[in-house]
C-alpha cells in the first residue's frame, strides 16, 4: 500500500474542521433546551414524586385548578369553576371543553378514574388523596368529591401536578387500574415512562433516564399552542457545568445554578434573576435517639436552637442569598406573616444547659452527604458544629449516603439530623401534616423513635382541625398558632430558605418559579 501524504493531510483537516464546527446555535431554534440534574423517579402521575416530575407533569397533564403567577391564588385549569360546601367536605368541579392529546374529550369519568387511581395505587403522591371518601361523576362535565373531615386545603391539593388528569381509556388499555386492587394490579408504570396520556400542551416524546427527557408539542392542544415545538431537558449534573452550557448557548435555561455560580457567569447573553424560593433546609432533633435518655427536653432543644448564629448561617451556606425562616412553614405561606425567626442567644443557651446539668453534652449529627438547593450540607453542619461548640456542646458530624442515612434515621442512631423540604402545592397544611407533633404524623415517628409521649403536643391536633375547617383570615390565624406551637416544639429548626436563581439566555422570556409546578414550560417563549 502506498501512503499519500496529501490524502492523509486532507483527512486530518476534515477531522479537524469537524472538531471546530460551532455548536448548533440557539437563535431561531424551535427547540427549548433546559439543563438539569434530573431526579425523576417515575413519569406516571400517580407514582412520580420529584422536582423534575413537577414541571414535566404540568406540561403534559392538566390539573383541575392551578396556581396563578402570584403563587397564592388558585385559577381555573381543566375546571372552569368549582363549588365548596360550608364545612369544606364536598367539592364540585365543572369541567370546561377540553380534549386529550388523542382528541377524545376530558370527561368527569376521567377525573374520577384519575383520583381513584392516585389513591389506590399507593404511590408516593397518594397522600394527596388521604381522606377522600367519594368521587362521583355527576354528569359528563361535573365531578364531585367528598372527604371524611373538613379540608379547606383540598382545592390546593388538586393544584399539585400529581393530580393531573389522565386519559382513562388509553391508560387502562396499557395496564392501568384505578380500583382498590390498583396497588398490585396496576402495571402501567413502564408504559408511562415511554408514553403519555394527558391533555396538556406537550406530550412525552422520549425519555432516557439521567440523560434526556424530550417533550413534543401536542399539536391537537385545545388551548393556546405553546411557543416551542420541542422541549429537551438534558442531564447536566453540577451547577458549574450547567452555567458553562448556558454561556455557550448549548442550553437555553439552567435550572440548578446557585447564587455563587451565577456570579461567575460573565457572558452578556445570559440573564440571571435571584428570587426567594419556598424551599428550606432544616435540622431536626431526635429526642428518642439511642443514648439520649430524656436529655433532649423541649427546653434543651430550644437552648440548642438559640446557640445557632442564623445570620452567619445565611452567609456561610448561601453567601447571604436566602432568608431566615421562623417555623417549618415557608415564608409567604398562610400564617407565616406574624412569625418572627429565632435569633442567637448564647448566654441563655449556656444557662439552660448548665441548669439541666448538660454542660458537657455530646451529640452526633447524621445527615445526607448532599448539596441541595445550593446548600452544601457539610458546610451547613460545620457551622452548626461551631455554634454548638460555643455553648460547650460537642457535635460529631456523620455525613452519610441517602440509603444509610434512611436506615440509621429509622433506627434512631443519632439525635440530630438535617434535611430539606420543597412544597407540593401552595398551602400550610402539608407542613403540619409532616412536621406537626400530632400522634401518628411522620415527624413524631422520626423524633420519638417509638416513644411518642416524648414529643407529642396535644394542642396541635385541635389547631390543625380548626385550620382545615376554616379559610381566609381564620385559617391564617390557626396556621400562625400552629407555627408558634411548632417553634415551641423545637424539633424542626429551619436554618435557611435559599434563594433560587432563574438563569436563561437573553432571548428567552416567560421563565418563572411556581410553588406547585416548578417551571411552567408552556409559558416560555423565544423573543
Amino acid at each position: 500500500m502506498t501512503y499519500h501524504p496529501r490524502k492523509g493531510l486532507a483527512a486530518l483537516l476534515l477531522a479537524g474542521s469537524a472538531l471546530i464546527a460551532p455548536p448548533a446555535l440557539a437563535q431561531d431554534s424551535d427547540t427549548l433546551v433546559i439543563a438539569r440534574s434530573m431526579d425523576v423517579n417515575s413519569l406516571d402521575p400517580s407514582r412520580a414524586f420529584c422536582d423534575t416530575c413537577q414541571f414535566y407533569l404540568t406540561a403534559v397533564y392538566e390539573t383541575l385548578v392551578t396556581l396563578a403567577p402570584d403563587n397564592q391564588s388558585l385559577v381555573p385549569n381543566l375546571a372552569e369553576s368549582w363549588e365548596v360546601n360550608d364545612d369544606f367536605t364536598e367539592f364540585t368541579f365543572m369541567l370546561k371543553d377540553a380534549t386529550f392529546a388523542d382528541g377524545s374529550p376530558v370527561e368527569a369519568s376521567d377525573v374520577v378514574w384519575t383520583f381513584n387511581r392516585l389513591k389506590n395505587v399507593k404511590g408516593s403522591p397518594s397522600f394527596l388523596m388521604d381522606g377522600l371518601t367519594g368521587a362521583e361523576a355527576v354528569d359528563a362535565k361535573t365531578v364531585k368529591f367528598t372527604v371524611d373531615a373538613p379540608n379547606s386545603e383540598f382545592l390546593n391539593k388538586v393544584s399539585a401536578p400529581y393530580t393531573g388528569i389522565i386519559n382513562a381509556e388509553v391508560a387502562e388499555a396499557n395496564g392501568a387500574v384505578s380500583d382498590e386492587t390498583a396497588a398490585e394490579a396496576d402495571k402501567a408504570e413502564p408504559w408511562f415512562l415511554a408514553n403519555s396520556a394527558g391533555s396538556g400542551p406537550f406530550q412525552l416524546a422520549s425519555y432516557s433516564p439521567e440523560a434526556e427527557l424530550r417533550l413534543a408539542r401536542n399539536d391537537s392542544y385545545y388551548g393556546e399552542a405553546p411557543a416551542f415545538s420541542e422541549v429537551v431537558v438534558t442531564q447536566i449534573q453540577d451547577a458549574v457545568s450547567q452555567a458553562q452550557a448556558l454561556e455557550t448557548g448549548q442550553v437555553d435555561i439552567a435550572m440548578q445554578i446557585d447564587p455563587d455560580t451565577a456570579q461567575s457567569i460573565r457572558s452578556g447573553d445570559v440573564t440571571t434573576e435571584v428570587i426567594p424560593s419556598y424551599n428550606f433546609v432544616y435540622i431536626g432533633f431526635i429526642p428518642g435517639a439511642k443514648g439520649m435518655d430524656g436529655k433532649l427536653t423541649a427546653e434543651v432543644r430550644d437552648a440548642l436552637a438559640s446557640a445557632i448564629d442564623y445570620d452567619g448561617m445565611l452567609d456561610f451556606t448561601v453567601g447571604g442569598n436566602g432568608e431566615k425562616q421562623a417555623a417549618p412553614i415557608p415564608n409567604g405561606f398562610p400564617g407565616t406573616a406574624g412569625l418572627t425567626p429565632r435569633s442567637q442567644d448564647v448566654e441563655k443557651a449556656k444557662k439552660v444547659l448548665a441548669d439541666a446539668g448538660l454542660s458537657d453534652l455530646k451529640l452526633v449529627a447524621g445527615y445526607p452527604n448532599d448539596n441541595v438547593y445550593g446548600v452544601d450540607f457539610n458546610i451547613m453542619m460545620q457551622k452548626v458544629q461551631q455554634d454548638f461548640a460555643a455553648i460547650g456542646v460537642e457535635l460529631e458530624l456523620k455525613p452519610l449516603t441517602w440509603a444509610v442515612w434512611r436506615d440509621e434515621l429509622g433506627a434512631g442512631e443519632w439525635p440530630v439530623t438535617a434535611i430539606y423540604y420543597a412544597p407540593d402545592y401552595y398551602g400550610s397544611g402539608q407542613y403540619v401534616a409532616y412536621f406537626g407533633m400530632i400522634e401518628g404524623f411522620p415527624w413524631v415517628g422520626r423524633a420519638s423513635v417509638g416513644k411518642p409521649e416524648l414529643v407529642v403536643n396535644p394542642a396541635e391536633a385541635d389547631l390543625y382541625a380548626k385550620a382545615l375547617a376554616s379559610s381566609g383570615d381564620d385559617a391564617d390565624a390557626a396556621y400562625q398558632e400552629l407555627g408558634e406551637a411548632m417553634m415551641e416544639d423545637a424539633i424542626i429548626i429551619p436554618l435557611v430558605a435559599p434563594n433560587l436563581v432563574l438563569a436563561y439566555r437573553n432571548d428567552i422570556a416567560g421563565v418563572r418559579y411556581s410553588a406547585c409546578c416548578n417551571l411552567p414550560l408552556a409559558e416560555i417563549t423565544r423573543n
Binding site: 460551532p22 399507593k122 408516593s124 448549548q250
Partner: protein, 337 residues
C-alpha cells in the same frame, strides 16, 4: 488454539453465576435502606406506601427466596427491573453501554497512540529534553484528577475558545442517528450524515482525550522501560553490530518485545475503563455505564448493581481472554493451551 478459546468461553457463564451470587449477597449485606430508590424520603414513614412498594418489588420475601428468584431470572437472561429507572436493567445497559464503549475505545486509541509515541521518543532520546517533556506530559495526565483536568479543559476549549462543543454526546437540539451500533459516530456515518458525524466526533474528542491522557502515563512508562531494557539486550547489540540503524533496532527489534507487557496493561485498562470512566462521564454529561453504576450503588439499586457487575465481569473476562490470545500473536514463542 480454537479449543482453548472455546474452553475459556464455556467457563464464562459459570464464573458469571459466581460473580452474580457474590454481588447479590454483598449488596444485601450492605447497610442501608433498600427502599431508598423506591420510596421518597418524605414517604418513608408512611407504612401503607412502604408495604405496597415492598410487595410490588418482592422485598417482603425472605432473602433465600429472593436469591432463588434472582438467579432463576438471571438464567433466563432477565436482569430484573431497576429500582431507580423503573425499566429493565438490560434495557438500561443496552442503552448506556455503547456510549461508554464509544468513549473508552476512543480514549484507548488516543491513550495508546500518545503513550506509544511518547514511550518511543523517550526511549530513543533517553535523558534528553524530549524524554523529559514526554515523561512530564505523561505524568501530568496520570496525576491530574480527571474531575479537575476535565473541567479545566472544558472551560478552556469549550467555554473560553469554543473550539469544541460542550457536554453530552450530541447537541441537545440535534436528533441522534438511527440506532444501529449505538456508537453515534459510526451510526451517523452509516446514515450517511457527515455533519452529524462531525458533531458526534467533536463531542467525543474532549472527553476521549481527557480519559486517554489519564492512561497515557502508564502506557508511556511501560513502553519506555520495556524499550530501554530491550535496547540493552544481546539481540539489540547484535542488530547494531550488523549495522542496523538505531531506528530499526528500536522499531524492528525492541518494540515487538515490549508488546507483551503493553498488551497486559491495555487489556486491563480497557476493562477498567468500562466501569471506571465515571468521573469523565459525570463531567461531560456522558450517559454511560459508569455513572449508572455509581448511581445504582449509592441508592442500593440491587438489580442495577447486579447488572453492572455482570457487565464489568464480562469486560474483564473477555479482556483477559483477548490479552492471552494477543500474547500468542505478539510472541509466537507463547503457546496457548
Amino acid at each position: 488454539m480454537l479449543a482453548y478459546i472455546v474452553r475459556r468461553l464455556i467457563a464464562i457463564p459459570f464464573l458469571l453465576l459466581g460473580v452474580a451470587s457474590v454481588s447479590f449477597v454483598l449488596s444485601q449485606m450492605t447497610k442501608g435502606d433498600p427502599l431508598a430508590a423506591l420510596v421518597p424520603e418524605r414517604m418513608m414513614s408512611n407504612p401503607e406506601i412502604v408495604n405496597a412498594v415492598k410487595a410490588q418489588w418482592g422485598l417482603d420475601q425472605p432473602l433465600p427466596v429472593r436469591y432463588v428468584t434472582y438467579i432463576g431470572n438471571l438464567l433466563q437472561g432477565d436482569l430484573g427491573t431497576s429500582f431507580t429507572t423503573r425499566r429493565p436493567v438490560s434495557t438500561d445497559i443496552a442503552e448506556r453501554l455503547p456510549a461508554t464503549l464509544e468513549l473508552v475505545i476512543a480514549a484507548m486509541i488516543i491513550g495508546t497512540a500518545l503513550g506509544l509515541t511518547l514511550g518511543l521518543l523517550s526511549a530513543r532520546f533517553r535523558g534528553s529534553a524530549t524524554d523529559g517533556i514526554s515523561r512530564i506530559f505523561a505524568l501530568i495526565g496520570s496525576s491530574l484528577p480527571i474531575f479537575w483536568s476535565g473541567l479545566i479543559l472544558l472551560y478552556i476549549f469549550s467555554v473560553r475558545f469554543s473550539i469544541v462543543p460542550g457536554t453530552g454526546r450530541l447537541p441537545p437540539r440535534v436528533t441522534p442517528p438511527p440506532d444501529v451500533t449505538g456508537f453515534y459516530t459510526i451510526d451517523a456515518l452509516l446514515a450517511g450524515d457527515l455533519s452529524l458525524f462531525g458533531q458526534a466526533l467533536a463531542h467525543l474528542a474532549l472527553p476521549a482525550f481527557v480519559l486517554g491522557w489519564a492512561v497515557t502515563g502508564i502506557i508511556t512508562r511501560i513502553v519506555r522501560s520495556s524499550l530501554i531494557e530491550g535496547l540493552s539486550q544481546d539481540y539489540a547489540r547484535t542488530a547494531r553490530a550488523k549495522g542496523a540503524p538505531e531506528r530499526t533496532v528500536l522499531i524492528g527489534h525492541a518494540l515487538p518485545n515490549a508488546m507483551i507487557p503493553l498488551l497486559t496493561i491495555l487489556g486491563f485498562t480497557f476493562a477498567y475503563l468500562i466501569t471506571g470512566a465515571v468521573l469523565t462521564e459525570a463531567i461531560f454529561a456522558w450517559p454511560g455505564i459508569g455513572s449508572y453504576a455509581v448511581r445504582a450503588a449509592a441508592s442500593l439499586d440491587y438489580p442495577a448493581i447486579g447488572g453492572v457487575t455482570i457487565v464489568g465481569s464480562v469486560a474483564f473476562l473477555l479482556a483477559n481472554l483477548l490479552t492471552d490470545i494477543a500474547y500468542a500473536w505478539a510472541n509466537p514463542r507463547i503457546k496457548v493451551h
